[in-house]
């Protein structure tokens, strides 16, 4: 394993220290391991807390988006203590929304934290994100995973919370965005966690994993590498089969951490062309490495069938390390 780290056991803590140094507009509690806006808690504002297992998501804390995020160990959900501490740090009396990606660990740890918060008199609403159409949503699985749509839920609910939206409304909006979103991902290579020290899986030189999540796990199936255009068509077909979108959609072309922008833009070109063919109009688009899986070379496509209100909130100012416009 080759990484720019000091000690595999201490990567998250040290990265958090760097994040704190690089972003004085955030407050990082390196003891309890959470990140909050420096101005938190704001009286009367609904707080948004993300279950986060990648430092890059810490990049989405700030005005117009998240109030806090709490990274667990790499690919491990945070613990209830941490989540509780972050929840308390952002509660301004108007309640707190937990944005939880649908993974067994995240769900359970947040559930425990929500119970602890309720004991302390904090109203918590949970928005479960489960947009990954690669997983069948059935009793045969733990349900669809939360992937790229998390960013959309964060951005859109974050903008509404900034405007003064109430707890129930924000939670409902988050669930609406999630229900209106679908994602599908491909991996060209496995990522390597610092603790494991070797790639999560081996992949022959001409094969890829289809239907991967964002924790380095293998996908639904292994396939031969195909041209980007084919992969884009298959991914969009999977999303459009699962969710019958007609547009306008917000499109996220997302790299999983090790994919250069030149490839992501090439992919976006194919996405735009194919959605045109299928008669799905595009309202907004975002291209980059946002919802990542360490150094995995891979990409995910997310579509969100957006209402006018969602588009308005998408366009609203946001000022975070990872996403910034209008501010």
């Amino acid at each position: 394993m080759k990484k720019f780290i000091n000690d595999p056991a201490d990567v998250v803590a040290q990265a958090l220290r760097g994040l704190a140094a690089a972003h004085p507009e955030l407050r990082v509690d390196t003891e309890e391991q959470y990140i909050v806006r420096a101005d938190a808690p704001r009286a009367g504002k609904v707080g948004l807390v993300l279950s986060l297992i990648r430092i890059s998501d810490g990049g989405f804390v700030g005005p117009g988006m998240l109030d806090a995020a709490c990274p667990g160990e790499v690919f491990t959900s945070p613990v209830p203590d941490q989540i509780l501490a972050a929840t308390k740090a952002v509660d301004g009396g108007a309640g707190v929304v937990h944005i939880v990606k649908n993974y067994t660990g995240d769900v359970m740890n947040f559930q425990l934290a929500a119970e602890l918060a309720a004991d302390e008199g904090i109203s918590v609403e949970t928005v479960l994100v489960d947009d990954d159409v690669a997983v069948e949503d059935s009793t045969w699985t733990a349900g669809r995973r939360g992937t790229g749509a998390t960013l959309l839920v964060e951005k859109i609910t974050g903008a509404r919370a900034e405007e003064g939206g109430k707890l129930g409304e924000i939670a409902a909006l988050g669930r609406e965005v999630n229900a209106a979103s679908g994602s599908f991902a491909y991996a060209l290579t496995a990522g390597t966690t610092p603790a494991a020290g070797r790639p999560g899986f081996d992949l022959p030189a001409d094969e890829i994993e289809a239907g991967v999540g964002i924790h380095g796990e293998p996908g639904r199936r292994r396939e031969k590498l195909r041209p980007a255009k084919d992969l884009v068509h298959s991914a969009l077909d999977a999303i459009l089969d699962a969710k019958s979108f007609t547009g306008p959609v917000i499109v996220l072309v997302n790299g999983l951490g090790g994919t250069p922008l030149i490839e992501l833009y090439l992919i976006y070109g194919e996405v735009a062309a194919y959605l045109g063919e299928r008669g799905v109009s595009i309202a907004r688009q975002l291209v980059g490495n946002y919802v990542t899986s360490l150094d995995m070379a891979g990409m995910s496509l997310t579509l969100c069938q957006a209402t006018d209100e969602m588009i308005r909130l998408w366009d609203a100012p946001v000022r975070t390390p990872g996403l910034r416009w209008g501010a």
Binding site: E73, S77, N109, A196, H215, R220
Partner: protein, 206 residues
């Protein structure tokens, strides 16, 4: 069982997990995200430290403290599951210095119940339950037949190991491995493997 033996159990579990961290992580890499060994190693190291810092006086307190520590240090799926199991088991025990094998049967039932409530998994879903369930059955049967702790724990350990091995041909329906669909078949469930280690640790010290 007294508090000292309960602490020895936790220590033995920590040692076994430390030795098998890499194997557990490999099992998890095959059908999950490759952190199970590291997660439990971090957790049980913290458990041993917590128990050494202020040694509880009763078995009940040992297990509750161990569970609480796992919940607040592990994260992931295994933290809440193992943590809640140990907490529930501890809370089900009498607050006496010594507890009987029959008390432990009830405690282990409470632990399993907590796992099922929290995780919603059924037997055969390819989770730690598939080692825990058979182990508890064997323990209960042995105690009902008049066996002492050592003998019952030995029976539980064997059953847990067999249960863990029996997860290999199953398709996962819960947890991260369920995302793989049929591809989860042919691999041992990492949580079942670690459950087997924990029952083996009990058999060792009992």
């Amino acid at each position: 069982m007294d508090a000292t033996l309960a602490r020895d159990w936790m220590r033995a579990a920590a040692t076994a997990i430390a030795a098998d961290t890499d194997r557990l992580t490999r099992l998890d890499a095959a059908i999950g995200d490759g952190d199970h060994g590291v997660n439990l190693h971090r957790g049980f190291t913290a458990v041993v430290a917590a128990l050494e810092k202020s040694p509880p006086e009763t078995v009940s307190e040992v297990l509750v403290k161990a569970g609480t520590t796992l919940i607040s240090r592990v994260g992931g799926a295994s933290g809440p599951l193992y943590g809640s199991a140990l907490r529930a088991a501890g809370k089900a025990l009498p607050a006496t210095a010594e507890v009987q094998p029959s008390d432990l049967v009830a405690a282990l039932h409470a632990g399993l119940e907590a796992v099922r409530r929290l995780g919603g998994a059924a037997p055969g879903d390819k989770t730690l339950i598939d080692a825990y369930g058979p182990a508890l059955d064997a323990f209960e049967k042995a105690v009902a037949g008049g066996a002492g702790l050592a003998e019952a724990a030995g029976a539980a350990a064997s059953a847990a190991e067999a249960g863990a091995e029996a997860t290999v041909p199953l398709q996962a329906r819960k947890g991260r491995a369920s995302y793989l669909g049929k591809r989860s078949i042919g691999h041992q469930d990492p949580g079942a493997a670690s459950t087997s280690l924990i029952f083996q640790a009990l058999a060792e010290v009992a």
